[in-house]
């Protein structure tokens, strides 16, 4: 029994390994880039666009709407990064419907790489928005005493982001592997459907959390704004 697709090695030369994680990640990148390239090659401005163009427009506009719902002022600036995260994790989990495919998100290396991207992107967008001084001042937000806790929080949430995705996807494939030993006929299919649902939800969660972290780093007065709106809505309901 293997815990992650890292253990399936297709080809090895000395310390250079070609395992299932790398191969399937490359496959996903190929499918995503070639697919979107083929669709965007013939974009039209007319009312009757091609079928694939409509599908792509729905996806892009949907992602943009979600980012705007989280509270970012200009979603177009972040859609390149956040949309790629959502699409990659979503497609990686969706492709489990193909037999023989192992989701690369079920390997801790992939999820840590994705979480590190978020870890780097948060200060990048924050500094771009507020300047170096403004961004690092947010670490001293309530008082300067909170500095170590803010740094620990930054590190632990990155780790939690990686382990959450890994644990969910790994537990899905692990449960299916165990059920194949116990009752191999119908029950694994039911668990595969459940795994598809959790996979899509986890992709969405990853995307939402990354957006929330970036929104918190780029918002101007993060400490004061939400409190006022909560109090305001409370008063409205009581009246």
């Amino acid at each position: 029994m293997h815990l992650s697709p890292d253990d399936i090695v297709f080809w090895q030369y000395d310390f250079v390994k070609l395992n299932a994680t790398i191969v399937f990640t490359w496959l996903l990148i190929l499918v995503l880039t070639v697919g979107s390239r083929l669709i965007t090659r013939s974009l039209t401005n007319e009312l009757q666009g091609s079928r694939w163009q409509n599908a792509l427009e729905i996806i892009v506009l949907g992602i943009e709407k979600q980012i705007a719902n989280i509270g970012m002022v200009s979603p177009r600036r972040y859609i390149v990064f956040l949309g790629s995260l959502l699409l990659f994790v979503g497609i990686a989990n969706l492709f489990t419907i193909f037999p023989g495919y192992e989701p690369p998100t079920g390997s801790l290396s992939t999820t840590i790489a994705l979480a590190l991207c978020v870890f780097v992107a948060v200060p990048y967008f924050g500094i771009k928005q507020k300047g170096i001084k403004g961004y690092f001042a947010s670490y001293l937000q309530p008082t300067a005493l909170m500095l170590p806790f803010n740094i620990i929080g930054e590190l632990s949430r990155t780790f939690a982001l990686a382990v959450r995705l890994f644990g969910n996807i790994m537990s899905g494939s692990m449960i299916i592997a165990i059920l194949l030993l116990i009752s191999p006929l119908l029950f694994p299919i039911v668990m595969t459907v459940l795994g598809l649902l959790t996979g899509m939800v986890q992709a969405y969660i990853f995307f939402v959390l990354a957006s929330v972290y970036i929104a918190a780093a780029t918002s101007v007065s993060a400490a004061k704004l939400p409190l006022q709106t909560i109090n305001g809505s409370d008063n409205k309901h009581r009246k």
Binding site: M1, L3, N168, S171, V201, Q202, I205
Partner: protein, 92 residues
């Protein structure tokens, strides 16, 4: 009882305890979250999309604590570093 047996016994018992106790807290928390979300849905059916989205995000975050326990259990049972160390030692 040599080291390997001891490690196996402790790992298996700890794995069971980890996943057993680790599931209790998230189970209570998810129950409370769903209950209050249903109450909110009954009061404000118009806000159902926002409530459902927030509920799903919250549930996944609560569930991740159980998932952490599950990951620890899986590491203890299937790729235990102490077990591997002593197996290598006895093999060499």
């Amino acid at each position: 009882m040599n080291e390997l047996t001891l490690i196996a016994v402790v790992s298996i018992i700890t794995g069971g305890i980890t996943i057993g106790f680790g599931a209790i807290g998230p189970a209570f928390a998810e129950g409370r979250a769903v209950a209050s979300a249903l109450a909110a849905l009954a009061q404000q059916p118009d806000a159902s999309s926002t409530i459902t989205r927030t509920l799903f995000v919250g549930l996944a975050m609560i569930e991740s604590t159980a998932i952490y326990c599950f990951v620890v259990t899986m590491i203890l049972l299937f790729s235990n570093p102490f077990w591997n160390y002593f197996v290598d030692l006895s093999g060499a």
